[in-house]
Symmetry: C2
Subunit: 311 residues, 2 copies
């Protein structure tokens, strides 16, 4: 094998109450990376599509390349690898765009080299990709993109990544309104402290969400999708958030909140038909009342993580 | 049936990171209540033993009587019931003493009346018992005492009480040092606010604890038994806490923290032999270095809740 194409899924981080500790992967959208063996040592980015020229091809600044380079260095490999990065989802949308590229890049590189490391062992390299993209080595997007399903990051020091079961009939709608939320703003607007009652509500709901996922209790999952910490602050940066969320709940969503740091909003539901109907209604609410266009993605939870598309 | 004797178990609330939302019941210690039908309408406390004269026999102030009265009023019953309350555990120890009495009282009354309500339906009456004893209708002791096992209180409004599975080989050591921690002090010493990073660590660990219990992963349960909120504050009221906890961990406890608001300290472990050894060592640490006597209780997790002892 000298060439491989890998898809890595988008992810919804935080998932209501699980601020900075929880995320899941969806079947679509996602990014694709083509990796090709080359005679020139090191990692090069030879092509990026779908980014409107926003991303760097510099191998020290591109998240896919940084992740692949980290792997090669870890293995002490002299191999040369060329990457073509195909962005198939919006950048800066709260869907883990940089994470998906990092995961696709390092998984493609690992496969090209004969898969010396397990998927889980690739996690540190994807986190370094996140550091380049976001300034911090967060795992709540890269871990679910890499491993699939629902992922809990219990702790960073030491890193403790735990896979939580995925109920069968769980569908996700993610709607990305065409506005920009700057990462600095999403950070700055967060409270510095929370009251003890707020904290109690938050860890009660995080615990309820985990219990609901293990017990396959969709009602409990829905009741637990309440975020008292990030959503009240960050929703101020998303015009129409309250109305769009209410629309999703009125149409039968189990729960709804901001995807990552936004502006995308996700909703969980118990059927494909409902998930599609909810997506259309959320889209229409933004169009009709806020003159905002949006992309709608409907899929099941991705349980497998990245997929090899061709080789 | 005109007379019944019921045992209700002691409980460990908070359980590390689950401040105010989590608790479990133990096989011992616990309180016993004897309920007898009488011809005089209403609930009377005719005897209390084991309380050193500290508890009130006034049916409006005694937690067992308040719970039983609430049931009778709910049922519109004209029945008369006399209660004998036998305290079989230390008061003010952080082991849910008032909760166990309330649960034993209302379960005994319910059984005497032919069990018109389910155990779960009795919960509101036990919470009213807690209100009389503690000033607030907390559920994190009464719910596990009443239902057995590990219990999550996801929310109070509306009340959402969720049973979490109990791993088979889980043993609990609780050691009660003979000091008094006043409830006012335990409350006053709590921080009013926590930082976001502290919150993230807390709900990460709460989520990990729930996942460990569902997955029967004792190591994960142990790693998750970290409390960044109440323990750092309240441990200051317990002389020798740090050393006693370290002793438990050194002897192989999965984890250890304060039971409820203290001063009792609990440790979880994976065998009876280890749990006993840990209890002895915790006891000795308090005796040798702090001249504090203590009671040691070792048992499995109580999965059934209250037990009818005789009728």
């Amino acid at each position: 094998m000298h060439k491989i194409k890998v898809f890595a899924p988008a992810t919804v981080a935080n998932v209501g109450p699980g601020f900075d500790v929880f995320g899941f992967a969806v079947e679509q959208p996602g990014d694709e990376v083509v990796a090709t063996l080359s005679d020139t040592r090191g990692v090069r980015v030879i092509e990026i599509t779908g980014d409107n020229g926003l991303l760097s091809k510099d191998a020290d600044k591109n998240t896919a390349a940084v992740a692949a380079k980290g792997l090669l260095e870890h293995l002490g490999s002299n191999q040369g690898i060329e990457l073509s990065v195909h962005k198939k989802m919006p950048l800066g949308s709260g869907l883990g765009s940089s994470a998906a590229s990092a995961v696709a890049g390092v998984v493609a590189a690992n496969e090209l080299l004969g898969a010396p490391l397990s998927r889980r062992e690739l996690l540190p390299f994807t986190m370094e990709g996140e550091r380049v993209a976001c300034g911090a080595a967060h795992a709540d997007n890269v871990a679910p993109s890499l491993l699939g399903g629902f992922i809990l990051i219990r702790s960073y020091d030491p890193l403790d990544v735990i896979r939580i079961p995925t109920p069968e009939n769980l569908w996700c709608t993610v709607v990305h309104p065409h506005i920009e939320v700057r990462t600095e703003d999403a950070r700055r607007i967060m409270p510095k402290e929370i009251s003890i009652p707020t904290g109690i509500a938050q860890w009660g709901n995080t615990a309820g969400l985990i219990a609901g996922l293990f017990a396959n209790d969709l009602e409990l999952i829905g009741r637990s999708l309440v975020d008292h910490v990030a959503e009240p602050a960050r929703s101020q940066l998303i015009p129409g958030f309250t109305e769009v969320k209410k629309t999703a709940l009125r149409l039968g969503a189990l729960g709804s909140s901001i995807s990552g740091s936004g502006p995308s909003v996700f909703a969980l539901s118990d059927s494909q038909e409902k998930a599609k109907r909810i997506g259309q209604a959320m889209h229409d609410a933004w169009t009709d009342r806020y003159s905002l266009d949006s992309d709608v993605f409907v899929s099941q939870i991705n349980k497998e993580g990245p997929r090899i598309i061709s080789q």
